[in-house]
């Protein structure tokens, strides 16, 4: 574009002012990017949930156990396709609770059949089925501690002490990946049979079941049938869609989305004022020059366009660099994998960010551009004398 030189020159005219505005826009969009990453991290569990899966837990509380025999009984309920079970192990690595990650004894075959979002190479699957002390770990977790297949990992559990004391020891036989970017790969899964025979107490109990239904549209019906099956037993159940289960975790943390939206609105309002003020000043101090442009034949519309381009360039330089920095930060992986196992900037948020950059450029430049457009040549030229 042949007018770029002029737009560029005008931007560079007040280097300090331009830099400060650029910096504020950059910081605002960096903040936007970070909040999007955090929002994604919190909601990953919810979006990850399969629509065709139910969670069946103890009616009273998530921390109370259910009998291992329930699996077979549920399998007989019409509409149930498959079941598997998880148990909360609360493993502690290297005696440091800050090394937290999710640890669960599971039944390998039904677990892998249920959770197809976890991708495990067939050879490693075979190894897991053959090794009683075998464990599979997610890619994020393996990277976090630098674990490889063949490593032996000792864990302590405050809930489940081992018979005859001592640490639990597991042999890593496989590392799984997620089928999507938002899949949580920070889990540590080991064999329930090994766990059950070695724990000091609680034999025959599991934490909760994951149930796949044949027809997602009839999930509610199947959930009711499961709860009815175990009503009036010592272990009454509560079956609910997996999404709702994960959602209840998120809701405990607070309506993150609403809070983030409020923060972002305030930030963008402020940044709009900052950028708008910069553009207003830029146009005001340039009145005579705008008069000259019009005098040599620039139309009012062209002058309007030039101011808008300048404003958009300012917003783009600041905003895109802010988004880029936010994106670069995710390349290093999650800084706190225990809290945010899923840590990346989704493309849809990047696109929203780019849209916001453009919107900011146009909004901030609009009033000054209109003023520049309406400026009457003869009046503007008089400003000089």
């Amino acid at each position: 574009m042949r007018f770029l030189r002029l737009v560029w020159g005008n931007l560079m005219r007040r280097k300090l002012r331009t830099s400060l505005t650029l910096l504020s826009v950059c910081v605002a969009f960096l903040l936007f990017g970070l909040l999007c990453i955090i929002n994604e991290a919190f909601s990953a569990g919810v979006t990850m949930a399969g629509a065709d899966r139910l969670i069946v837990r103890h009616k009273v509380s998530l921390i109370m156990s259910l009998p291992i025999t329930y699996g077979a009984r549920m399998q007989r309920i019409p509409g149930v396709d498959a079941t598997t079970h998880w148990t909360w192990f609360n493993g502690i690595y290297q005696d440091d609770p800050r090394n937290f990650f999710g640890t669960f004894p599971v039944e390998p075959e039904s677990f892998l059949a249920m959770h197809r979002e976890y991708l495990l190479p067939p050879a490693e699957r075979e190894a897991w089925l053959k090794t009683r002390t075998g464990a599979i770990v997610g890619r994020t977790l393996a990277d976090r501690f630098g674990w490889k297949v063949g490593d032996r990992i000792p864990l302590m559990s405050p809930i489940w002490p081992r018979k005859g004391d001592g640490a639990w020891e597991f042999d890593i036989v496989g590392i799984y990946d997620g089928d999507k970017k938002s899949t949580d790969t920070s889990g540590f899964f080991f064999r329930y049979d090994y766990f059950d025979e070695s724990r000091a107490e609680g034999q025959g109990l599991v934490g909760w079941y994951v149930v796949r239904v044949k027809d997602p549209d009839r999930a509610a019906e199947v959930a009711a049938a499961i709860d009815a099956e175990f009503a009036n037993s010592p272990y009454e159940t509560k079956a609910e869609p997996e999404g709702a289960f994960a959602q209840s975790f998120v809701e405990q943390i607070g309506s993150i989305g609403t809070i983030l939206l409020a923060i972002l609105s305030a930030v963008f309002f402020t940044i709009l004022l900052v950028a708008g003020n910069t553009m207003a000043q830029a146009v005001r101090e340039r009145t005579a020059e705008l008069g000259v442009l019009k005098a040599v034949g620039f139309t009012n519309e062209r002058v309007l366009g030039l101011v808008l381009v300048e404003s958009c360039l300012l917003a783009a330089a600041g905003g895109l660099s802010g988004l880029a920095i936010a994106w670069l930060l995710t390349l290093g992986g999650s800084p706190i994998p225990a809290v945010f196992p899923v840590f990346y900037l989704p493309t849809r948020y990047l696109l929203i960010g780019v849209g916001l950059v453009l919107g900011l450029g146009i909004l901030a430049g609009l009033l000054p551009a209109l003023a520049a457009m309406r400026l009457r040549v003869a009046v503007a030229l008089r400003r000089h004398a």
């Binding site: 002029l6 034949g297 003869a378």
Partner: protein, 239 residues
């Protein structure tokens, strides 16, 4: 270059025809009648000096002729083109093609080099970058500033800045040059050089020039001098 109709002179060689023009400004409730039924004809190829006391309306008249402002009443025609019938957009395009403007305070854009300032009117044409550079080089050559092409205005003397201003005014080869006190901010020597340049543009390149000035020394270079006072023109300086 200039033919009849589009900006060229009409019959009997008249290029600029100002006919019964009023220009009234409003300052609050007060009406200021700056120009009052003013008539002026400028033949093609003339170098006209426009004199008159401060506030008499010289700049106002120049703005009307250059299509920077519109008369309250009356008509301005340049060649065959009647300015009052043009939309703002057409008027802008017309200015780009037919008028070169030279200002007392040069009015160069500080963020552009001399060459880029001169190039400005050409950005509105369909010329390629190479063509534009060639025209800019010629214009700078005419005003004798080729060696300063890449300098920024703040590094140039007043006289040099005014030469850049003149180069910008002539780069698109307009029919008409309108100069508002082009030597008003210069010392005698620099002013003389600018006047030499304008005279050469008039005599050798056939430019029609209307120059506002307070300086009898400058008006002496013109082929004709008119005086503006109380909204009217006269051939003689008012007593």
């Amino acid at each position: 270059m200039s033919n009849s109709g589009e900006g060229g002179p009409g019959a009997n060689g008249i290029l600029v025809r100002v006919d019964g023009v009023d220009r009234t400004f409003h300052r609050g409730a007060e009406e200021i009648h700056v120009l009052d039924g003013l008539d002026l004809e400028v033949p093609q190829g003339e170098f006209l000096a426009l004199m008159g006391p401060s506030g008499s309306g010289k700049t106002t008249l120049l703005n009307l002729i250059g299509g920077l402002d519109r008369p309250t009443r009356g008509s301005v025609a340049i060649g065959g083109d009647r300015l009052e019938s043009m939309s703002a957009r057409r008027l802008a395009a017309w200015r780009a093609r037919h008028v070169g403007l030279v200002f007392q305070f040069y009015n160069l854009l500080p963020v552009l080099s001399a060459a880029r300032n001169v190039e400005l009117p050409l950005l509105l044409t369909h010329m390629s970058g190479a063509e534009r550079r060639r025209h800019v080089a010629v214009a700078l050559e005419v005003v004798g500033l080729s060696h300063r092409a890449n300098h920024y205005p703040r590094t140039l003397s007043g006289g040099e800045q005014q030469r850049v201003g003149i180069a910008r005014a002539i780069v698109s080869d307009p029919t008409l040059l309108l100069c508002d006190e082009p030597t008003g901010d210069l010392d005698r020597k620099a002013g003389d050089e600018i006047l030499d340049l304008l005279q050469a543009l008039n005599a050798q390149h056939g430019k029609t020039i209307i120059m506002v000035t307070h300086d009898p020394h400058a008006s002496a270079r013109a082929t004709r001098t008119v005086h503006l006072d109380k909204g009217q023109l006269s051939m003689e300086a008012p007593a």
